[in-house]
């Protein structure tokens, strides 16, 4: 398994852990109030830490174990995998923006807007990283 693939696995698990905690712990009954919006902003800090700490620790650990691989530039196959993953992530982004527009038209604002946009970003990231992991595993 290449250095970049390992980092992708760490990012995937980190995203699931950090934002899984966020969405499961969020007080949804307050979502449509200004307080609900502020709560979601505050909850972003621990969610980001839960995501970032394993990312930094994992990158450092794998870079120390295989410094040569960590310093390698992305080759053409990896660039293609990168592009394909990013392309796949475009679709959940579009869906999420439409979902947010629909929600706002129907009076779901404040925390709902923030959370729908955040869920969109997280879903798009999961699709991007997941698709890249799939292509890494498949060979291309």
């Amino acid at each position: 398994m290449s250095f970049r693939e390992k980092i992708h696995w760490v990012a995937f698990v980190g995203l699931l852990a950090g934002f899984g905690w966020y969405f499961l712990s969020y007080p949804w009954e307050t979502a449509n109030t200004r307080m609900g919006m502020l709560t979601s902003v505050w909850m972003l800090f621990p969610a980001t830490i839960i995501f970032l700490v394993p990312m930094i620790a994992g990158s450092a650990y794998f870079a120390i174990r295989a410094p040569k691989e960590a310093n390698l530039r992305e080759d053409e196959r990896e660039k293609l995998i990168h592009l394909k993953g990013t392309h796949a992530a475009y679709y959940p982004l579009v869906l999420g923006v439409w979902a947010n527009i629909f929600a706002m038209i129907n009076g779901l604002i404040y925390g709902w807007s923030v959370n729908i946009l955040m869920a969109t970003l997280v879903l798009a990231e999961l699709v991007r990283v997941g698709a890249q992991l799939y292509y890494y595993r498949r060979g291309y």
């Binding site: 398994m1 290449s2 080759d75 053409e76 196959r77 990896e78 498949r138 060979g139 291309y140």
Partner: protein, 71 residues
Amino acid sequence: MARLPFDNDIKTLRFLSDEMTQGDLGDKVGVTRQTIAAIEQGKYSPSLEVAFRIARVFGKPLEEVFRWAGD
């Protein structure tokens, strides 16, 4: 996954070149070991540049490394 319409002899050529590893070949060509493995297994179609670089490492013309096998 659709199989590529060409085969290659990279594995044999590596063996004949003092049992060169995939990592060594990757270093010489400028790609990762995993990319060499994917090319060898016919999972990834390399760019023309990488194909030429691989052939140059073995001192062979391109058609002795990669062979068209499709229709």
